[in-house]
Amino acid sequence: MRKIFPAEELARDARFIRQTNEQRLGDPRGARVAGGNSGDRLAKLTPELANGPDRARALMHGIFVGEIQALEGAGRTCWDFEVGEDVPLALKLDMARQCWDEARHCEISVSLAEHMGTELGEFAENGLLYEAACNPDPVLRLTGVNRALEGLAIDVFNTMKEFGNLAGDPVLEFCEDWMLADEVTHVKMGSDWLRRLTENDKERLDKALEFQKIVDRLFSFNGFRGEDDDSPIQLTRRFRELAGFSDDEIDEIADMSRDARVEAAS
C-alpha cells in the first residue's frame, strides 16, 4: 500500500458521486454550502425557514460524507508516517482513536440520514476535506484537519443541535450533542499536537498556522460561518475555547468570515 493516497482515488460504492473542486467552484450559481448555496445570501439555518428541513437534510448528508473523509484522513495519518522518524507514537494513537470516533460519527450520520429521509449518496460528494488530510507534513495535516476542519465541525454540529432543539427533534439534538463532544476532543488534540511538535520550531508553527488559515478560508464561502445573528452557521466561541483556541484566534476567524460576507455582497 502506498504512502499518501490521492483524494481522487478514495474508494466509494456506486451510490456516491464525486464532484470535483473545478465543478463545484465552476458552478455559476455559486458553490453548495450549509445545505444551501453560497450564491445567495443564505439565512441562518432554522426550522422556521420554508426550506429549513430540506437544508438540514442536505447539510446532514454533507456531514456524513465529511465524516467518512475525516475517518479516511485520520486512518491515513496512522499509515503515512513512521513512529519515531516522523511522529511520536502517542500522535498515532490519537489518530487511531479519532478513526474510531469518526467511524461512530459515520454510523450516527447514517442513522440520522435515515431519520431525516435522506438516501446515502443522495447528494454529490466533494473531496475537499480529505485533500486537506493529504498534506505530507504531519503538523500541517493535523493543523488543517483537526483545527480548521474539525473546528468548523464544532460550529456545524452546534448549529444542527440548535436546529434539533428548535424543531423539538430529540433524536437530532441528542446525536449532535454527542458528536460535538467528540469534535471538541479532536480540535483539542490538534491544538495540543501543534503546540508540542512546534515547541522549538517557530518556522514550522507559522507554516502550520498559515495552512490552517488557508483551509479556513477555503471553507468560508461568502462567510457562511460567522458570529452575526443571520450567519447560516454560527461560530461557536465557547466550545472553541474548550478546544484550545485563543480569543485572538477566534476573533480572526470571525473577521475572516465577516470580510468574506462583505466581499460576496459587493
Binding site: R29, P53, G168
Partner: protein, 180 residues
Amino acid sequence: MTQVSVAPESFEMVFYDAAVIGEVVAEVAERLGLEETIKLEIDEGSPLGRSKVTSYDPIELWVDGGALENTKRPRQFGTARTKDTVGRLLLRILDRRSGRFDDTPADDDLDLMQFAAWDVHCVGRLERLGIGGQRQRRLYQFRNRHGFTDLADSAFEKLWESSELSWTEIERISEGCRIS
C-alpha cells in the same frame, strides 16, 4: 394532449434541455389526467428547490432550477426530482378544482403547517401512482411542522394513506397535532 411550454428555451447555467423537461412534465400531467396547456417557468440561476403555482387556470408553474436538479450531479437535470416537484404542484391544482378544496386559503396565505400537511397528502397519492415518493423525507418535514410525537406520526399516516381528503379534513388532521 398535454402541451407544455418551458421558459427559458435554452439554459446557460445548468445542463437542462427544455424539450426533455417538457416531456417529463407532460408525462406526469397525463398520468394525473390533465390534458391541457401547461406553462413552466424556471429560474435556472437558483439551485434552491422552491416551486409554486402562479396560475391555476390556465396552468402556470414557477420553479427554482434546483427543484428539477439531480442532487447527485449538480447542474444536471433530475427526472425523479422533476416528477416529484411538478406532480405535487399539479395535484394541488387538481385538488383545488375538485370542489373539495373550495375553502382553501390562497397559496400565499397558507402557513408552513398547512403546506406540509397538504404536501404529505399529495406525495402519498403520487407514490401510489408511481410518481415520486420519499416517504421518510416527507415524514421528517411533517414532524418539523407538527412535532416529533406519536400523534403527529399518526396524523401523517392518515394524510399519506388517504386517497381523497378535503381541505377541511386536512386542516382538521393538522390542527389535531397543533392542539397537542
